[in-house]
């Protein structure tokens, strides 16, 4: 903020269509990208997060240095023209950057608000950054704080339970229908955090195979790889209806993907084996009338939420609570940064007063003659009390400036320095002892 600036650049599922995100998404791990960032001038600390729904860069750069163009270039590479990049990109600074990081960590910016994966992804990204020593005092503190935010959101609000319990509910329902899931096949149509989460839960419960169908086959293949499954194209869907038991659909398609007649046609071939359909997409992918078919059970996202008895209203309330936590923690972090600015002055001031008191005592001590231990202690206590009293108001003056903004802080620090004759400019340098 003073000698450095915190910058966050990124794209996510809200700002950027998946086609662009796909191009930006970093393939092949974090390390090479972190190393590349390291080479950009004026960047002190950096950190990188890449998930299927977002790519974000968080850096601490020298104050005044304009590194944005470099970073945008880094983020978009040559795949996307720079002028187009503005459309998708968000750039946040200082307080906003911190707030955004905390929002992401609290899973409030996720596609499925409250899903738990993001914290793991954040930690993974941080682990890489820490291993490469690309994060320093400020980012370490900030990221650790973001984990705290995530933890608080998880424990103090019910927001996490809704997402997890929705996929949990899907598993419970599947068990209620199929009993044993071990021989069952799952088909994902489209991809999204929620669908992947549900698929993971199902895999955890022993389903035999997961296939993935997607408009872009490449993405389907990538996802299928993750589940150790098979990728299929959308054209192949009808054939796969025959052998699949559970379908989770979450495409962004405007129209229905599976119609009642499609399924009706294969039920005889399936020998009426039950079919469990989960429609997470909005607008819906699966014909609502499918539920009328015998041995077909169709659930959309609302049905699933009703299973866990968490209504939209409740989720909304929890989200408000979670946002309050994010705001709170952002404010706290801001205070922390501002403390960093006044702390050197406070330390210096304390030292100065202590030196004065001790110096005067040393000068006068020999004139006091022999003193008992008790008297000696009393003298010492008196000096400490005087020092503390003198320090009290200037300290309050400095500390209370924390909420008043950067300029005000600077002014107050200067005033105190002038009055007490402290060396100026100490505040310009970050003090290492404040690093935790």
């Amino acid at each position: 903020m003073q000698s450095e600036q915190i910058l966050l650049l990124g794209v996510n599922h809200k700002t950027t269509p998946v086609e662009i995100r796909e191009k930006i998404a970093l393939s092949g791990g974090y390390d090479q990208y972190l190393a590349a960032l390291n080479k950009i001038e004026h960047i002190q600390e950096h950190y990188l997060l890449s998930t299927c729904n977002r790519v974000e860069l968080l850096v601490v750069a020298d104050a005044g240095a304009d590194v944005r163009d470099h970073l945008i270039r880094f983020l978009f590479g040559n795949e996307v023209p720079l002028e187009k990049a503005d459309e998708y990109l968000y750039i946040l600074e200082g307080r906003e950057a911190v707030h955004h990081l905390f929002t992401v960590a609290g899973s409030l910016d996720s596609m499925v608000v409250g899903e738990a994966q993001i914290l793991g992804q954040l930690k993974e990204a941080y682990r890489h950054a820490a291993e490469q020593h690309s994060t320093g005092a400020l980012l370490n503190k900030m990221l650790h704080k973001s984990f705290t935010v995530a933890k608080r959101v998880r424990t103090e609000t019910g927001i996490g339970s809704s997402a997890v319990s929705i996929s949990y509910a899907a598993v419970q329902l599947a068990k209620k229908i199929f009993g044993d899931l071990r021989q069952k096949k799952v088909l994902l149509i489209g991809a999204g955090e929620m669908a992947e989460l549900a698929a993971e839960h199902l895999l955890g419960n022993g389903v035999r195979a997961v296939s993935v169908a997607n408009r872009t086959l490449a993405r389907a293949m990538r996802l299928a790889e993750r589940f150790d499954g098979q990728a299929i194209s959308m054209e192949e869907l009808p054939e796969h209806l025959e052998e699949t038991d559970i379908i989770i659909s979450s495409t962004g398609a405007e129209e229905l993907i599976i119609h009642k007649s499609d399924v009706q046609a294969v039920m005889r071939k399936r020998r009426n084996r039950p079919l469990f359909l989960i429609d997470i997409a909005v607008p819906r992918d699966l014909d609502p009338r499918l539920n009328d078919l015998d041995n077909v059970y169709l659930y959309d996202i609302d049905d699933l939420s009703s299973v866990v008895e968490i209504n939209r209203e409740g989720r909304g309330r929890e989200a408000i609570k979670a946002r309050r936590i994010v705001d709170e923690e952002t404010l706290k972090f801001e205070h922390y940064i501002e403390t960093l600015e006044v702390k050197p002055t406070i330390v210096e001031l304390r030292k100065r007063i202590r030196e004065m008191a001790e110096g005067e005592l040393a000068k006068s001590r020999h004139r006091l003659g022999e003193l008992t231990g008790e008297q000696e202690d009393a003298l010492e206590a008196m000096l400490h009390a005087i020092a503390a009293k003198i320090l009290h108001h200037p300290m309050e003056y400095l500390k209370s400036s924390r909420c008043t903004g950067h300029k005000k802080i600077k002014e107050r620090v200067n005033t105190v320095c002038e009055i007490f004759g402290l060396p100026e400019g100490r505040t310009e340098k970050q003090d290492n002892e404040t690093n935790e």
Partner: protein
Amino acid sequence: MTELSNILYAVILLVSGLSCAGYLVYFFRQRKDVRQIARVLLLASGILQTLFLLTRYVLVGHTPITSPFETMVFFAWSTTWAFLTFHWRYSLKNFGTIVSLLIFSLLVVSLFASQQVIVLPPKLQSVWLPVHAGISIFSYGFLSLAFCGGVMYLILERALKRKQFGFLFERLPSLDALDQLNSHCITIGFGLFTVGILTGVLWLKQVYGDYWHGGSKEVWSMVIWFALLFQVHQRYSVGWRGRRAALLVVITFVVILLTLWGVTYLSGGVHGHAI
């Protein structure tokens, strides 16, 4: 012997009632220790029912399966043992609750029937009696299990389709397990029922000289047999299952009960033959 028989009957009613109550406690309160007791009581009830039928055999001088009273107890006995043998292989959540309820109901119904001994005319006293009647009633035992499973299936299926998950929902086993139960019980039940009908026909031939006597019991038995045949055939040929299978087995069982009560009670036993 009459006294022993009466005491046994009273004890059976008590033990079965307690077993049923235990299962219900488990059903509502999920107390596993109580269920364990209920299981033991049901086994005890099964053994006592067997003993009772033996005393009754000594009492009436032939297989005790001729009067409405005897038929009801025999029905309860076969359901009990069908469940106990089944239970040995499968375990279905809360299945015992429904079955024990049915067994107890059958026994309670038998309370209202006359315990009077029916003296069989000599020409009906044959080895065909235990074979025909015993096998037929034993097939009913399995069909009553299928009925219980069918009722549970229909409740669960309805909840899943309407997305209304109440008290019953979590207390039911999976659809698939219930459907398999239907498949097994219908198959066994149908097999036994077929043998029952064949022996009945042979017995008819022996007594009356022709294979078809035209009694209402015979007509209804044929209706039930065709209904079962249809279900078994559909299941194995085109994979019929689920709601329709469950619904049909429930209806079939109701027809069996009506046939048993209606025809047997109205005619006063032994299908109205020769009396």
